[in-house]
Structures are given as structure tokens and as C-alpha cells.
Amino acid sequence: MSGYGLQAGTAEVASAGPIAFGPDGILFLADNVGAKVVAVDVGDPGAAGRAVVGAQPFDLEAVDARVASFLGCGTDDVVIRDMAVHPSTHDVYLSVQRGHGDAAQRVLVRVDRLDGSIADVPLDGLPWAEFALADAPAVDDERVDGILWPESGGEEIHYGDLTLRVLRQPIRTATITDLAYVDGALLVAGLSNEEFSSKLRRIPFPFRGEVADTSLEIFHVSHGKWETAAPIRTFVPYDGGRSILASYTCTPVVHFTLADLVPGTKVVGRTVAELGPVNRPIDMVTFVDGGEEYLLVANTSHGLVKIACRDIDAQAPLTEPHEPVGVPRETEDLRGITRLADLGSGYVLALQRDDEGRLNLRSLKTASL
């Protein structure tokens, strides 16, 4: 593992956030409380000598109840923040928050692809490396500015005979919403609790302390008339990593190419679809079927949406009055899907909430989508 600059010891990860696999079974974990990304060699026990099992579908009912049972809590105390499939063993990794508030605890859970058994993956002793987000404030940030606080509470400060009550300003936080590894770099999208912007970071991997990430704001144009930026909610690389499809908190699906992400230039993505009002895309995945690459988009209000990548490439930017068209797409009758991952060999794995409120892992045969 020394080839990736991982060190012995135990990574400190304070919170459960998005996760994604990189090269050679290295898992990236976004830690929003710690304001960093951690790379861990999870040492998947199936990695050595396991027969390829990806040709089989994998379904597991009530995965939330199973995880809750293993962790000794109710399903209300299990929040599955993200899901990733190990690229060679196809074991399923879940980024889980156990408990809430002061009792909240981060747990990395592995679901065995062969028998569906649940195990936790303690980070103790796993080779690791981390990258601190450059513009995130230090934990002990003592920002001195404050808002004037007219009533009781706050901090009392004195200037000569003037007494002011000041509530110290809360510090800025940067929240990672999605991440993906592409060709020697980790792409990280996120948003801030303060300013409204659309930053995509590109962090070279292996992490090198002296190499800063490049961060670019990506604009998009609505109907040829209004140019805006917004935080990226979820994104997926396709076409061998040359293209990125991103969806925003304000719903458009936008295409840009990785080669466009050059510091010092203004990046304007091409809006290729809008998936409708009161709906937010929450995860995306690509798969190849019959030699063609496709995208699946999970939504809060609509079923699963399937888009052919060649249609994205052929789609002119959305302009009036074509609205609300965009790329040809199919809305599958698959609702309640919150996370998607490529299971390989003709299947996509979906984390889906059923009518009884249970979360199930379900394999979707790509040829049938």
C-alpha cells in the first residue's frame, strides 16, 4: 500500500459522510465534522482469492433492521449516509450514523456479498492517509467577530465605558455532499452553511500534503438566459472519467468535462435536463449495457430515471421554449431509491425504502432497466 502513501496506524474519522472506492480497494470517507477526506485500505477479507460473484444478483431485505440489530439499537437510530460496492469482492459498504445528538457515532459497516452477513469495519490498524479541506476552519477557530446581542446571553465586552454584548459568530462549515475517484484524483463536491456556491474540488491522490486541491466554481445556464451557480448535490463521472454529470440543489442536471476544470478559468456546464419541480436528484450511477453507457438517477419524488450517455453528448443546451424536455429519459417504476452503486456484471445495487418503511438492498438487472 506504500504506493498510495498510506501510513500505518488508525485514522480518526469523526462523522459518517459520503464514501467512494478508489484504486485497489481503497475507500475514501468524507468526514464533515473533521473537515477532511480519509483514504483507508479496508483490507476486504474477500479480496484474496474469492471467486467473482458479480454475475449473481444480490438482494437483502431489511438491511436497516439487520444493521440496527448488530449495532444494538432501533432502526430509528440507524442513518445510512452512503453506500459503496467494493470493486473486486462486491461486498457492500455502508457509511452509518448510529444514534443521534450526543450519542451519535460513526460506523463503517460491511455487508458480505456471499451470505448477507453484517460486520463492522473498525479503522484500527488499517493503513490510512488524509486530506484536510483547505478552506475549512480549524476546530478551535476563535473568530472574533460577533453579532451584537441586545439581551442576556452572549459575551460581555468592554471598550472604555462602552459595554457590548456580543454573540460570537458560529464558524463556517463545509459539508461534503458527494465524492468520486477519477484517474489519479479525488473529486469532491460540497456546500457551505454560509455562502451559496458551486465548488468542485480536485484533490490529487495519493494525497501529498504540499499539493493543494484545486477548487472551481461551476456555473450553469438555465434556458439560455440565466446563469447561476449552486451547490452540487450528487455527481457521477462517465466516459472513462472524461465527462461529469452533476445535479444541483436547484434540480438541473448539468454536463461538463473534466478537462474544463482548469484553475483560473470560468467553467460553465451545459444544462441537459431538468427532472421536475419539488424533486431532487439524490444519487447517480453509470452502467454499460450492450456496449452503451447509461446513467441512472435516483430522485426524491420521481422513479428512477435512465439516460443514455450518447443522448447527453448529443443534447444541445436547454433553451426556451423546449422546456421541460432535455435528454430522452425513462422514468422507471422504481421509487424510494436513495442510493445506487454499480454491482458489476449486469447489475446495479439500489438501497430502496419499501412501502412498510424498511430499507432493502435490491439488485436491478441493467438489461431490464
Binding site: V33, E61, A62, A65, S69, F70, L71, G72, C73, G74, T75, D77, V79, R81, H100, G101, D102, A103, Q105, S117, D120, P137, D141, D145, I147, L148, G153, I157, Y159, G160, V166, L167, Q169, P170, I171, T173, T175, L191, N193, E194, E195, F196, V221, S222, K225, W226, E227, T228, T249, C250, T251, P252, K266, G276, P277, V278, R280, T300, E320, E323
Partner: protein, 333 residues
């Protein structure tokens, strides 16, 4: 007689099982909801402790959760982890913005609590209510994860940008969530749980009047500076043409001396976010200072010094200003 009780074992919380034979198989479970198939038992280790057997969990017992104990496959007892007494001590310190009137295209609101809060509950406990008292459904953007500061004391909520940005389907079909000329309230429920699970001391709300749209870039050149006299500790006062975002003001404004070094002192946001003051630790020198403005500074509608929130491509005066911080020189005399 087999007995089960909460206990401690080698400094760890445990369930102590008495009256079982050494080597008995002790398993702890959380009673499942109506379920399919086999569920794994709770992760933990079983350790003999004198005549007893202790189950030490890998993850702590959670308050209010019921645990059943089985020995060699037979349930021998059930324990509920007692919930500590939860007093209603946490309160809402502030709802922002502090302006009484907000633009129709208001982008965000914030709630500051006196203690850390439980995350994942904003959707259920923070509401916008119109002047008739009806909840404005779909106005706030459901966020997962939610936007909290590091202490989980300050929550930022966004109005759905798809309904504010011109040209988007949400805006066209549903329109702005707010109506000019009307009022609305941001309401925080009293049963919003804090980080320890207790409710708030009381609910809170703040009323706003809704004005016209704000679509201009924030322009520091238009601000009114009240320059302090030299050799005094009087604050520099900066008046804005509109309310600005309080959290960003704290980060985006600073005062530098003639050498470009940050002047030591304290800053603060004035009433309604319409002004900002800075009081130096030492007396002002009679020399050229400057107010330095980070272009990330935004107003209540998300327009920043660098760019407008949604730029009309037919208007050249809305071109983005991607440049260094903006400076406003001033000289105490």
C-alpha cells in the same frame, strides 16, 4: 435463578447475568420490529466476572432502547436503558436574518440555539407559515445532511433555490415561495429535540415582511463609512444599502492598517444586518486604513460582491467580478 441487571465490568457498561453456568451462550438483542428471517445479535463480548457473566457491547447501550438477554437460546430477561431526566433547558437564541423586511427572493434563514441540537430533525420542526397561519409547504429545501455549524448550534435552512431561480421548472410551475407585500413567520417547534434528546424550553418564531426582489450585486463602493477620529477608540461604522448576511459579514470584512496588516480589534453586525462596526484594540493612527471586503459576501438573496444570484445574460452590468478583495480606503483624522 437467573438475573439480569445494568452493571459495570472493568470500567465498561455491561449487562450482568447472574446464575448461569460458566460457558453458557449469552446473547443480547434489540427486540426487532415484525421481521423477516434471522437478525444478527448485538455485537459485543461475553466476559466471566466472578460468579457472573457480563455482556460488554461493542457500541454503547442507547437510552430508551430495550435489550433482551438470552442464555443458551432462552430469553431470561429484558432491560430498558433508562433515559436520563431531560429538562427543557435549550432555547432559541436568535432567528436570522434580523431584518424585519426580506426580499421576495430570500435565500436562507438561520436558527441559533443555546446548546447543541439533534440533527436530521429540521424538516419536521422548522416551518414557514404565511400571514393566514398556514404552513408554506415546499418553501424550505429538505437537506440531507443538514447545514449546521461545528457545534450543531446554528442551523442554516435554504428556501428552495429551484423556486427562486428564474427559468427553472420549479420557479415557473410553483413560483416564489414568498409573496411581496405579505408577511410570513419562521416557526421553530418547542419539541425540537436537542442533542441530549430533550425538548426546547419554548418554541420560537420571527415575523418578516416580504419586499421586492433583490437582484443587484453587493456593491461596497456604495456603502456609507463613518470614519472615526484619529487617536480615539471609536468604532468604524459601515452602513449598507440593504441587509447583508450576518454570518458572512463576520468572515468577509476586515480592517487593515497602512502596511496592509489586519488591525486588531472587534467587529460586529448592527441592527437588521444593515451596518457593521469595528472597534480597534488600540487607538486609530492618523493614517490611511482600508476596509477589505471578501467578494464572497452575500446579501439575503444570495447576491454577492462577485456575482448576482442568477445572472440575466442580457444585462452586461451583471457580469461577474472575479477578482481580488474590494477595498474601501479611509483615514482617521
Amino acid at each position: 435463578m437467573t438475573g439480569v441487571s445494568w452493571s459495570r465490568c472493568d470500567g465498561d457498561d455491561c449487562i450482568r447475568v447472574s446464575g448461569v453456568l460458566p460457558g453458557a451462550r449469552v446473547v443480547v438483542r434489540v427486540p426487532p420490529a415484525p421481521m423477516v428471517g434471522h437478525l444478527p445479535p448485538m455485537a459485543g463480548r461475553v466476559v466471566p466476572d466472578g460468579a457472573d457473566t457480563c455482556f460488554v457491547p461493542r457500541y454503547p447501550f442507547l437510552f430508551g432502547t430495550t435489550y433482551t438477554v438470552a442464555v443458551d437460546g432462552a430469553v431470561v430477561g429484558e432491560l430498558v436503558r433508562p433515559r436520563p431526566e431531560r429538562s427543557s433547558a435549550t432555547e432559541v437564541l436568535e432567528i436570522g436574518p434580523t431584518a424585519s423586511e426580506v426580499p421576495r427572493n430570500l435565500l436562507r434563514l438561520s436558527v441559533t440555539f443555546s446548546a447543541p441540537m439533534r440533527d436530521g430533525r429540521a424538516d419536521a420542526h422548522v416551518h414557514l407559515v404565511d400571514q393566514r397561519g398556514a404552513e408554506i409547504h415546499g418553501a424550505l429545501l429538505p437537506m440531507e445532511p443538514e447545514l449546521w455549524d461545528g457545534d450543531r448550534r446554528r442551523l442554516t435552512v435554504l428556501l428552495d433555490p429551484a423556486r427562486i431561480k428564474r427559468g427553472l421548472v420549479g420557479h415557473r410551475e410553483l413560483g416564489y415561495p414568498l409573496r411581496s407585500g405579505e408577511s410570513f413567520r419562521l416557526v421553530v417547534d418547542a419539541d425540537y429535540p436537542d442533542a441530549r434528546g430533550g425538548p426546547l424550553r419554548a418554541g420560537a418564531d420571527r415575523r418578516y415582511e416580504v419586499g421586492a426582489d433583490e437582484r443587484r450585486r453587493v456593491d461596497p463602493d456604495g456603502w456609507a463609512l463613518r470614519v472615526p477620529a484619529a487617536r480615539t477608540f471609536d468604532p468604524l461604522e459601515v452602513g449598507f444599502d440593504r441587509p447583508l448576511d450576518a454570518a458572512l459579514l463576520a468572515r468577509c470584512l476586515r480592517v487593515v492598517d497602512p502596511a496592509g496588516r489586519a488591525v486588531d480589534g472587534r467587529g460586529g453586525v448592527g441592527p437588521e444586518g444593515r451596518s457593521w462596526w469595528f472597534a480597534p484594540t488600540g487607538a486609530w493612527a492618523p493614517a490611511l486604513h482600508a476596509l477589505v471586503v471578501d467578494p464572497a459576501l452575500e446579501d439575503l438573496a444570495g447576491n454577492s460582491v462577485a456575482r448576482v444570484f442568477d445572472r440575466d445574460l442580457t444585462r452586461t452590468d451583471d457580469d461577474p467580478h472575479d477578482g481580488p478583495p474590494v477595498t474601501r480606503p479611509f483615514e482617521p483624522r
